[in-house]
């Protein structure tokens, strides 16, 4: 028996899911936001092999990383993100592409991940694009630590998909019908001349595919096993995979609740939920949480406002890449691939071109955001609906004002209590992404993802001084005088 223990123990102590060295780190902070709504004063966090090995209170030991006045939070979790995901990752020639995994085709070394990491986001749920009714399986990724395919990117700067936290994404909105057209008195010209073109058609597609999975899955040697799309639907019906529904209008949210009741989805999460506050009581009764889409103080900003002039200027004059001189640091190109323009053309483009990498998302947001309010998380949490916040495409441009911490600040400004707002981007966000055992709170045994802020994180002038992902320092901007 003891011989078996000796065999088993080394396996248990092996680091999981991270390229962590055996390094030990100790981080001490005046205030630790645990991530579940509690605070610890004078906290000391010990890290070993990429995991948090101890959390205690006390004076900072010698050798610990300590910045006076700094506050420590878990790494922020972006519960709804489109980093590296655009319309090219979704196959539109049919409506049910549930078997396609977004982590297989997302651009994992997109500069968006680095921008997110520098803003304190250590993990994100990559949501498939909304152009198909069944978008595919989204997955949780760490924003740092993967080996980039880009030869010019800094090492470890790519995202790293994790093998837990997958969820099937459905879209009940205008997005999947955005380019479809009905038959016009002849055979269709292209693959967009087909159903669905209305909300009824969208929901019919969902029902049809789930009923097909039910019928085919019930037989022996079921075709559902061979068809990857139906295999995912079977996993949903068996309760092994959660469902995320992108629904903005309140009637779409209600439809999602009806479908969950009809098919017995074990775990349903509403994504974006722009009008979810109008049916908050139904959500609270059903126990369905909501990942709120990007919040803006100015409601019009949530609708495809386009890039600002400063962002266009930065696109037009990116940092110079000069490769002929040895030893110069190389920037790697922004994946938007824009052509530099100047002057009046710049301003006109800023007014007309959409921000989003997906035209479906653009049109859907534009048409369905009449009742958008930045008070959405406050209204939902007061009604008893668990909420998390997501930045969606907020990291795709150089301006950082849409990053997840700013979402938390906006939520706090509009009525969410401070600790609850921080919880919405850490602990609650991790649990809504299915990663509660690994991420979201600073507790022993969890992955060592920490962010040291220069002050209270919800203050608008607080910035990340230190970002640790899987026990390795990803960003170090501490002032030189200390430590």
């Amino acid at each position: 028996m003891t011989a078996l223990l000796w065999l088993v123990l080394p396996l248990w102590s092996a680091p999981q899911g991270g390229a962590a060295g055996g390094d030990r780190l100790i981080v001490a902070a005046d205030v630790l936001h645990v991530g579940d709504g509690t605070l610890l004063q004078r906290a000391v966090v010990e890290i070993a092999s990429g995991r948090i090995s101890a959390v205690r209170q006390g004076e900072p030991p010698s050798g610990a990383i300590h910045v006076p006045g700094a506050e420590l939070t878990p790494g922020l979790v972006d519960a709804c993100s489109y980093m590296g995901v655009d319309s090219r990752t979704v196959e539109q020639s049919r409506e049910n592409t549930a078997g396609q995994r977004v982590a297989a085709t997302a651009t994992l070394d997109s500069p968006s991940f680095r921008r997110a990491m520098e803003a304190g986001v250590t993990a994100a749920f990559l949501s498939p694009d909304s152009l198909n009714v069944f978008g595919g399986v989204g997955s949780v990724v760490k924003t740092w630590g993967g080996r980039p395919a880009n030869l010019f990117a800094p090492p470890d700067s790519a995202a790293r998909p994790l093998d837990f936290g997958g969820a099937l994404k459905l879209t009940i909105a205008d997005d999947p019908t955005a380019f479809n057209y009905p038959p016009r008195g002849g055979p269709p010209d292209d693959l967009f001349g087909r159903r669905p073109t209305t909300r009824m058609g969208t929901v019919w597609t969902i029902r049809k595919e789930f009923y097909r999975a039910l019928e085919l899955g019930g037989r022996r040697a079921s075709p559902a096993a061979a068809d990857p799309d139906l295999a995912v639907l079977r996993a949903v019906l068996d309760g092994r995979m959660p469902v995320r529904v992108l629904a903005r209008r309140s009637h779409d949210v209600q439809t999602a609740l009806r479908l969950a009741a009809e098919f017995g989805w074990k775990k349903l999460v509403i994504e974006e939920g722009t009008e979810a506050h109008r049916c908050a009581a139904l959500l609270a009764e059903a126990g369905v949480p909501v990942v709120c889409g990007p919040l803006y103080d100015e409601v019009s900003r949530s609708i495809a406002a386009g890039y600002t002039l400063e962002e266009w200027r930065e696109f037009a004059a990116p940092p110079a890449i000069c490769c002929e001189r040895a030893g110069e640091p190389h920037g790697y190109e922004d994946e938007t691939g824009l052509t530099p323009v100047g002057g009046l053309a710049l301003e006109l483009l800023g007014l007309t071109l959409p921000r989003y990498g997906s035209a479906g998302l653009l049109m859907g947001r534009r048409q369905e955001s009449e009742h958008a309010t930045p008070a959405l998380p406050a209204l939902l949490s007061r009604a008893g609906v668990p909420c998390a916040l997501g930045a969606a495409e907020g990291h795709d441009g150089p301006a950082r004002e849409s990053s997840v911490i700013h979402q938390a600040r906006t939520a706090a400004r509009w009525g969410v209590p401070a600790e609850l707002a921080l919880q919405m981007v850490t602990g609650t966000a991790a649990s809504l992404c299915g990663a509660a055992e690994e991420l979201g709170t600073v507790a022993q045994g969890k992955a060592a993802d920490l962010v040291l802020w220069s002050g209270p994180p919800l203050r608008s002038d607080a910035r990340p001084l230190l970002v640790i992902v899987d026990g390795r320092v990803a960003l170090d901007r501490r002032p030189v005088a200390s430590d």
């Binding site: 196959e91 395919a149 030869l151 002929e324 190389h330």
Partner: protein, 381 residues
Amino acid sequence: MHPLAVLALLAPLQERAAFILEPDAVVLEDGKAQPGLLVLVKRDRILAVGPSVPQPAGAERWRLEGVLAPGFVDAFSSLGVAGRAEENTRTLTPQLRAAETLDLADPRWRRWLAAGVTAVHVVPEPVNSGGLWSVNVVAGWAALVEPAGSGAFAGPGAPLAQVADPLTRQAFSLLEAAFGGRNTRAGPTSLPGALELLDGALLAGVPELAQRGALVFVDSAAAVRAARSAAQKHRFAPAWIARGDVGSYGAELSGELVGLPVLDEASYEPRALETWRRLRAAGVRIAFGSHREEGPPPPQALRTTAMAFARATGDARAALEAVTANAAAIAGQGRDRGRIAAGARADLVLWSAHPLDASARVKSVMIGGRTVFRAAPREDP
């Protein structure tokens, strides 16, 4: 029988007897021109290379003034294609062959031969740009062409090239530029869709794929990863042709055999040379090919690209390998062509200096042991 006819019949046989070449220097696999080496050639093969070689009875000894190098191999090309090598009406065309589209009387073959190219790997068109109805995920078989006739015919109507191997590798295309958005009316519109089609085609079976291998056109990291897992699942060996901005996904190709386009004004971008350096540092085996959408470049493109590569990376061996041995490996003939070694084909070019030397020019070209080109003698000043 007329005595002259008898002599004409005998002449090709006499050419195939063994002979020993004694050039000023021979370029071996290390890329350096080594003096004092002899090359024994019999029929179409090199039998031995060394300071001394076996001397079979009746072998002639040819003293050559110049540097003997392996002939250049164009790793992927559209030379000699009449029209376009693509079938617009279907997405999966594994049974089609690029060899069927060749014009073997195209005068450009002769010019490329005169530039020192002894084998051209013609590939089917990977992007179905002319048609709006489908993309070419499985494009068909590539072919290896020698830019010299077989010698059986002579005179103005003789073909200037012959197909050495009509089935070299099956071409797969996972280029994002080929499918995306509304360019295609029947799908696929994205990489995952193209992968499903590829998976379906491979499940249905592509004859000879396992023996011969595939050539995959890629321009993104996701395409490389997906094609690699398809290759493991369906058990075939892929070679790669990297398009687009190779620097943005080159680390994914570490350790693989990759074809890159030759350097010209259209494809040059400020970090092209640095991308070459980094690919080499990442362990990528590079080969160069002249396939371009606007048609073949000038015949010297391979050599000038190799010279630019040597200058950019400081490695003449890798530069020469990129236009000889690695390119032959992409064409599925890595043991037979692209190197001067015992057992390889006698595809040799006699230069006036080392081929990567700017002053070098082709003096004569031998393909399969037969001299197919002699440059007009030039008086050096």
